[in-house]
């Protein structure tokens, strides 16, 4: 999330001429994070509903400023809406090797080999079957294989950081990869993203689409990161963090992480249940 790489003041200009806006520091971002937590606590105290998703206007992630709508969303109640169906994918869209990010090149990538596995469920707890899961991530040094990532950490010629798979009949997915590194970004001075893997998921309906990020347990950067903290509900935020499961670790091979994913939004049962 090098948010602001193109649009915000690079850190080097912090000490520039007086006309240059000062780069916000961590202390000012901490204040913004605390303000939104308080605002959410007040919302709950006033009887407001729990919020499972970030507020698009969340200010501590500065790139939201010009990229969030200010008009309320318009509710669609049509039970025949096209969005209640969705794209499908199949065996032509993935290969077996796509789920193993450590085997896409001639050599093995550097880093701590891990597996990430879990199930994709809908809000009723039913497995999402045969649907596409896509992931992308930085390498062990915290560098993306993306031209715009200018973080001076080494690229790994044996790691692209892209994977995909289809969920099975139980909604299960699994990837073998390496643990990504933390990386700096320019939201504010000394901003660092906690290690994370980007996930993209499809459900049975387009309304269940989800793009999100999975984090690793115990990362000391959590408290400083406005993207993770944009989920102001403590329980919801915890659902973005995978669990280390020793039984999933494989001797002499890889550490095992488990992360279950629940897709929001109405699915095919929406109409039947008269919602």
């Amino acid at each position: 999330m090098a948010a602001g790489q193109q649009t915000e003041q690079p850190a080097e200009q912090a000490a520039g001429p007086a006309t240059v806006q000062p780069v916000p520091d961590q202390a000012s971002v901490d204040v913004e994070i605390a303000e939104w937590r308080l605002r959410y606590e007040k919302h709950l105290a006033d009887g407001g509903a729990r919020q499972n998703h970030p507020d698009r206007a969340y200010a501590a992630y500065h790139s939201t400023a010009l990229r969030h709508p200010t008009q309320p969303l318009v509710a669609v109640a049509d039970p025949e809406a096209l969005e209640l169906s969705g794209p499908v994918f199949g065996v032509t869209d993935v290969t077996d090797l796509d789920r193993d990010l450590t085997r896409q090149h001639n050599g093995e990538p550097l880093g701590e080999r891990i597996t990430v596995s879990g199930r994709v469920l809908d809000r009723d707890g039913r497995p999402v079957r045969g649907q596409l899961v896509e992931i992308w991530q930085a390498n062990a040094s915290g560098r993306y294989a993306h031209q715009r990532d200018q973080h001076p950490a080494p690229l790994d010629p044996n790691f692209s950081g892209v994977g995909r798979c289809l969920t099975d009949d139980q909604g299960a997915y699994s990837f073998t990869t390496i643990k990504p590194g933390a990386y700096p970004w320019r939201n504010h001075l000394n901003a660092w993203r906690p290690a994370h893997i980007h996930f993209s998921l499809f459900g049975e309906a387009f309304t269940q689409r989800l793009v999100t990020q999975m984090y690793f347990p115990g990362d000391p950067l959590f408290a400083y990161d406005p993207i993770l903290q944009s989920v102001t509900d403590d329980a919801a935020r915890a659902r973005l963090v995978a669990a280390y499961v020793h039984e999933l670790s494989q001797p002499e091979f890889a550490l095992g992480y488990r992360w279950d994913i629940v897709l929001d939004g109405p699915g095919a049962t929406w109409m039947e249940e008269g919602r």
């Binding site: 707890g125 993306h146 715009r148």
Partner: protein, 178 residues
């Protein structure tokens, strides 16, 4: 609904080598008799183009094969030119523009659009209508000006213009379901 959902997070700036795929905007082949091209620019609240947005289009009905792979090399070889998957995915260019080719909307009269971008913590849904009357039938309670943000403008034969404004005076109508 008994299980609590996984929160959304931004797609960020670095999805470019992972999510877009060759032919992602060719939901129907160029020679398809009902093909219409929709193109436009995604803007932020200052009116500036957004060069790192990702748009997905859903027209239904769906079949697998949007991102077909070569079983020998594993490379993405794109669609087979016959199967209609109903699904398109295009990143915006450096100038914020995108192009997608779809079949002229049938009974539903619209194409569903899902918008992702750096700085957008949770994706947004909107629709492209080619016919203002159809948009009026579905969104009669909106002001004419708001409703107009859902309607593409004919540019020339077979080509329609549909800009997306995430914020500002021309802010696009975004939808929620359920």
């Amino acid at each position: 609904m008994s299980v609590l959902p996984t929160p959304s997070q931004t797609v960020g700036p670095f999805y470019g080598y992972a999510l877009p795929f060759a032919g992602g905007g060719d939901v129907v082949p160029a020679g398809h008799p009902d093909a219409v091209t929709i193109r436009g620019v995604v803007h932020d609240g200052a009116g500036e183009p957004i060069p790192d947005a990702l748009l997905e289009f859903w027209t239904g009905p769906g079949a697998p094969g949007s991102m077909r792979r070569d079983p020998t090399s594993g490379r993405v070889i794109g669609r087979d030119g016959v199967t209609l998957t109903g699904f398109g995915r295009v990143p915006t260019d450096a100038d914020g523009s995108y192009t997608v080719r779809v079949a002229r909307p049938g009974p539903m009269q619209y194409v569903s659009v899902c918008v992702f971008a750096r700085g957008l913590l949770h994706h947004l849904y909107t629709r492209v209508y080619l016919d203002g009357d159809a948009a009026g039938a579905d969104f009669g309670s909106l002001s004419a000006a708001r409703r107009a943000t859902l309607v593409a403008t004919p540019e020339r034969e077979g080509v329609w213009r549909f800009d997306v404004h995430l914020q500002g005076a021309e802010e696009t109508v975004f939808l929620e379901f359920g």
